[in-house]
């Protein structure tokens, strides 16, 4: 396992709380959007944007940058929050999320938002898009890597498995897929809507290198990325066990907050919880 300093972990934890506050504020301000899946993916996105990805906020289309693809586009609040905190655009702009004439569309739009790498909204297209990126990186003999975040509901989508086959056919070891295994999709638990288990075995059967981690443990997230980098000849799927709505007690594991913003009272409670967490650092 790689050496990861206490200081790095503390910094990432703190950043993740900042992103979660943005997510809550953005969706509250819009009175719509998808906080639950944004919060569950938050630690993965934080680790990538604040430690792993080689990107240049002053040159978002730098050709040699690593690519981050958000397949589950409805979770874009976490992406926008990370991009703003990373300096791709002003943090104040986050409050235009979902408003008329905003660069921060309700679902990601390629070319409009600095740093956004793919359009998403209809579930299940991001991994295929990532396969295309990884193929291009290899054709051009480049070192940049592709990281794709998928929802577990997206495992229902046939195209996800079409992409899985294509990625292993071409041995795309520069591609890492994170499956945000929060156990909930839009209107229920994944195992009630469309049972997924055994999920790791499915990805293994598609010839991927598969890791299962706690998606809220930065050491495990960073170790998984490290292992993906070392893995040759196969793409890596990281099944990240997460909690939908993670970070705000009354939102955790609640189906409702898949696609519902907080009320005014809930906003205060949520921010108070997150601020208390922040103060503890």
């Amino acid at each position: 396992m790689v050496e990861v300093s206490e200081q790095l972990i503390a910094g990432l934890k703190k950043k993740a709380v900042t992103l979660r506050k943005h997510i809550i504020r953005m969706t509250h301000n819009a009175q719509s959007g998808h906080p639950g899946g944004s919060m569950s993916a938050c630690d993965i996105v934080t680790a990538l944007y604040f430690h792993v990805l080689r990107v240049d906020p002053s040159n978002p289309t730098w050709p040699d940058r690593d690519r981050f693809v958000l397949s589950k586009g409805h979770a874009c609040p976490v992406w926008y929050a990370a991009l703003a905190e990373r300096g791709f655009f002003p943090v104040e702009e986050l409050m235009t999320f979902r408003k008329l004439n905003s660069r921060l569309q309700g679902h990601p739009e390629l070319g409009t938002t600095p740093g956004v790498e793919n359009a998403a909204g209809a579930e299940g297209q991001g991994l295929s898009f990532s396969v295309g990126l990884a193929l291009a990186s290899r054709m051009d003999h480049k070192a940049w890597r592709t990281y794709c975040v998928l929802g577990d509901g997206e495992q229902d989508v046939g195209q996800t498995w079409e992409a899985a086959m294509a990625a292993s056919k071409y041995g795309l070891d520069s591609l890492t897929a994170f499956i945000d295994r929060n156990g909930i999709q839009q209107e229920g638990r994944t195992e009630d809507i469309m049972p997924l288990e055994p999920l790791a075995e499915k990805w293994e059967a598609f010839n991927w290198h598969v890791l299962t981690i706690d998606g809220h443990d930065f050491r495990q997230i960073l170790a998984a990325i490290e292992e993906a980098h070392r893995t040759r000849g196969r793409p890596t799927a990281v099944i990240a066990r997460t909690v939908k709505g993670k970070g705000v007690s009354f939102m955790e594991n609640k189906i409702k907050y898949h696609g519902a913003a907080t009320s005014d009272d809930e906003l205060k409670l949520a921010l108070a919880e997150l601020e208390a967490m922040e103060a503890a650092f």
Binding site: L100, L104, M194
Partner: protein
């Protein structure tokens, strides 16, 4: 009757059907192409399946499955979709399908319905269930005023004149019917008498009613929450061009994608308003009298 769903049964309320008939709703997850083909299989074995989800997923996302497994196979599948058009609002362009009428009316054997309000949507369900063959019915997520009466008859293939008039005809579908009526009231104050037609069946088109409108009023404005490329405007234009050409103006989305915003803001920005219909009527009258 059976219902198939794709992780959206609560928001589009087919869950209510499952409460009454728990073993007749099949929840198939986020897998719409599969959902449509499963519906086709159910239909082939004699069931009357209603496949229901958001319009973007029940049309564009599944287009060739519908084409091959439903229409080409001529099966009794009823696709009922909510969340059509711009009024989906803040979710943005990925979810605002303004092309589904175009897609669906291009498929041979497909019946295409666009109800104007709640009561008419209920009638569409009954009529679609009673006829044999594939049906696509689309409606919006937003609240709409009721413009049809409970007692109004409803026959697939028949357009209904909601208000008579002789100077110009306003033909609308879906949420734009209410705006056509609003526009007609404005025009009346200007002493322009506008006929209003609710085109709730887009296909098969009621050629007789459209032809009569062209002959009797001499000008047509169409209004739809949909692209003007191959929507109801295009359908009406080709019908009158073949029979009795008169000037026509089309109110609708102008070959662009939508964006995030509140429903009313978007309708305003993209020109889907009663004012634009009035402008269209003025334009048509000017061109006719030239």
């Amino acid at each position: 009757m059976v219902v198939v769903g794709a992780d959206t049964t609560e928001s589009i309320k087919t869950i209510e059907f499952a409460k009454a008939f728990p073993d007749r709703l099949f929840q198939l997850g986020i897998a719409e192409p599969n959902m449509i083909s499963v519906a086709a299989g159910l239909a082939a074995a004699g069931k009357i399946p209603f496949a229901a989800t958001y319009s973007v997923f029940g049309s564009a996302h599944t287009y060739n499955v519908i084409r091959q497994n439903v229409a080409y196979t001529n099966l009794n599948v009823k696709i009922f979709c909510s969340h059509a058009g711009l009024t989906v609002g803040p979710d943005g362009a990925t979810h605002q399908i303004n092309e589904d009428i175009a897609l669906m009316r291009g498929i041979p054997r497909m019946t295409v319905l666009v109800p104007a309000d709640g009561p008419e949507t209920a009638k569409c369900v009954d009529a679609a269930g009673a006829m044999k063959g594939p049906v696509y019915c689309r409606f919006s997520r937003t609240n709409v005023p009721t413009v049809t009466a409970a007692g109004d008859g409803f026959t697939i293939g028949m357009a209904r004149v909601l208000r008579d008039g002789f100077d110009v005809t306003l033909i609308g579908c879906g949420i734009m019917v209410a705006r056509c009526l609003e526009a007609a009231a404005t025009l009346e104050k200007e002493r322009i008498s506008a006929r209003v037609i609710n085109l709730s069946t887009v296909k098969p088109l009621d050629l007789a009613t459209i032809d009569r409108a062209a002959r009797e009023t001499g000008g047509i404005v169409t209004a739809e929450e949909h692209t003007v490329v191959h929507g109801i405007g295009a359908a009406v234009a080709s019908a009158i061009a073949a029979n009795h050409p008169v000037p026509i103006a089309m109110v609708g989305v102008q070959d662009v994608f939508g964006e995030s915003g509140e429903a009313e803001e978007l309708l305003h920005k993209y020109g889907l308003t009663a004012e634009k219909i009035v402008e269209g009527a003025h334009d048509v009258l000017k061109r006719r009298d030239r």
